[in-house]
């Protein structure tokens, strides 16, 4: 999914000779259609979030955000991301190293497996953990016997988030490291560098922008995931609610202004993510070209 996103250097219409572009009215019409489509489908919902959030003014907005349940939801969202993102980052780097620096059988199958979570419905991503750790699940009786709670508690939320954000870092690193090849690392090793030193001094500087790109996309999804987390959360206010779940509860209780106020925080996160992504893309393109 994220792998489909590509940087596109713009080719201006001025660069195209007249007979290879459309007549002016056709150009304007197509631009108008595109702007209208993006405006109605994407910009309008974003404006709605802001306008609903501030409908009752600044102090109502701040009250909604400073509400103890909202702060507890924010803490849980940050905690979840703080566990899921680093683990998936370590996995992504290890997988990309193993897959791109060596030749072995079953490589394509492994890549397909890594991509699996992208094509699984978020609801199923939560369901699988209930089947494993729920009261009726495979490990349910043992967990109850030892008084360990995984689903309808924080560990379940973290696991479901790890599942849905699983491929993000690996997906970004695989094509990048594949394109960079193994010459740099081999040179370092032949000069006597040890494995870890080679990784820190040679590989990491080469992949840092791609790695950062994967991490911020992984983080945005980890903080915003709704379906999977909704299935495994106990929906206990102040305890097992993440920010997206808190938005749902407020909305279903007809507290629209508060709901949109919390939503505006997550929208801000999305915008920041995309701005950073845009800044990184330029660097990423040059690090791919450099090899």
């Amino acid at each position: 999914m994220a792998g489909a996103v590509t940087t596109v250097a713009s080719l201006s219409s001025e660069a195209r000779p007249k007979h290879l572009t459309e007549a002016r009215p056709v150009r304007y019409l197509l631009i108008a259609i595109a702007l209208l489509f993006i405006g109605v489908v994407i910009v309008l919902p974003m404006i709605t979030v802001l306008s609903e959030a501030f409908r009752k003014g600044w102090s109502a907005y701040m009250d909604a955000i400073r509400d103890p349940d909202a702060l507890a939801a924010l803490r849980l969202t940050l905690l979840t991301a703080a566990i899921a993102v680093p683990l998936n980052t370590i996995f992504g780097v290890a997988a990309a190293w193993g897959i791109t620096k060596f030749k072995f059988r079953g490589k394509n199958l492994l890549i397909t497996f890594i991509d699996l979570p992208f094509s699984v419905s978020p609801v199923i991503s939560g369901l699988v953990y209930i089947l494993l750790f729920g009261a009726q699940g495979f490990f349910g009786p043992w967990l109850i016997g030892h008084d360990v709670k995984i689903v309808f508690a924080i560990p379940g939320i973290v696991l479901a988030t790890m599942f849905v954000t699983f491929p993000f870092v690996a997906r970004e690193l695989l094509p990048l490291m594949e394109a960079q090849g193994v010459q740099d690392e081999e040179a370092a090793v032949s000069l006597g560098a040890k494995g870890w030193r080679t990784f820190w001094k040679v590989t990491l500087p080469n992949i840092k922008w791609g790695l950062l790109y994967g991490i911020i996309l992984c983080n945005a999804r980890a903080m915003g995931e709704f379906g999977a987390v909704s299935v495994v959360s106990g929906h206990i206010r102040g305890e097992t609610n993440t920010l997206p779940l808190h938005i749902e509860i407020l909305y279903n209780e007809y507290q629209y202004t508060a709901s949109f106020a919390v939503a505006s925080l997550l929208m801000l996160l999305a915008i920041i993510t995309l701005v950073i992504k845009g800044l990184i893309e330029g660097k990423l393109a040059s690090s791919k070209r450099g090899h």
Binding site: A34, I124, Y129, G137, G195, A220, L274
Partner: protein, 278 residues
């Protein structure tokens, strides 16, 4: 090949990295998914079949598949226009439009869900305009489609954009030299090249739409047989402690998703080959 192997093994860390990859992959993804299959295998086939073909479940497939199909088709048409305009024309605000295309990837689905519901509710910004015309969007299948159009925007645009970028101007040049009009050049020269990425983008948006939950639940109204999507029905069954029914329906949804994934991978390999040979 043999010398290749020796050369590759000059680098350390193969066992460690692949071992860790397989362990982590198994724990987080493969074993949980296998659990789904094992759990379903606990049902006899008639039980399974009865569950996944009951009237309410069939109605939910119908709602999910039709709304996802329609939304993906809308995205094919408008996604092509957006990609075309972004690659070929220059206009103010182009960079911002290009960035906005990714919003559905980055914006949490619950946020999109409540925003769309309030826009298309009878007293909302667009709902208010459509209500006098007798068009209801929120709490109807049309509302589900609107949510899935939002979710699907980036898929078509981002698969068509790089292909459009790579297309050689010379091909169009020779078509023009041979006297073809612009529209004919588009149909005969460009469109055939754009069909594979359009189908890929369509399949990606369609697959995402079938499994989508967060943006849809708020706007759909969730009426059984009418606006109940399959992912929501799975949650409903879970909340009623009908675990085996929920699992059986989930398995059907999973099989549909994997079939689409297979199709998408095949198409992408095909597109990449064509791009490289071009």
């Amino acid at each position: 090949m043999a010398s290749n192997r020796i050369r590759k093994s000059a680098l350390p860390g193969f066992r460690f990295s692949i071992g860790f990859t397989i362990l982590y992959l198994s724990l987080i993804v493969l074993i949980p998914l296998a659990g789904l299959v094992v759990k379903t295998a606990g049902l006899t086939f008639p039980q399974f079949w009865e569950t996944v073909t009951s009237q309410r479940v069939l109605a939910s497939y119908r709602v999910s598949l039709l709304t996802a199909l329609f939304a993906a088709l809308v995205n094919v048409v408008f996604g092509l226009v957006v990609a075309w305009v972004l690659v070929r024309y220059r206009f103010p605000g182009k960079k911002i439009i290009d960035g906005l295309v990714d919003i559905p990837f980055a914006l949490p689905t619950a946020v999109a869900g409540i925003a769309l519901t309030s826009i298309y509710a009878p007293n909302g910004w667009i709902g208010r305009l459509l209500d006098p015309l007798g068009i209801k969007v929120s709490y109807t299948p049309l509302g589900i489609t609107v949510a899935l159009i939002f979710i699907g925007v980036p898929f078509v645009v981002r698969t068509v954009q790089p292909v459009l970028q790579e297309l050689e101007a010379e091909m169009e040049e020779s078509a023009a030299l041979l006297g073809a009009y612009r529209w004919r050049t588009f149909r005969k020269v460009l469109l055939p090249e754009l069909v594979p990425p359009l189908i890929t983008g369509f399949a990606l948006a369609f697959a995402r739409g079938i499994g989508e939950y967060g943006s849809v639940v708020f706007i759909s109204g969730n009426m059984p047989l009418k606006t109940e999507i399959t992912p929501l029905l799975i949650i409903t069954k879970l909340e009623q402690y009908e675990y085996s029914q929920a699992t059986a329906i989930a398995l059907v949804l999973l099989i549909i998703s994997f079939a689409l994934l297979l199709l998408i991978n095949t198409l992408q390999r095909w597109t990449n080959r064509r791009l490289r040979s071009a």
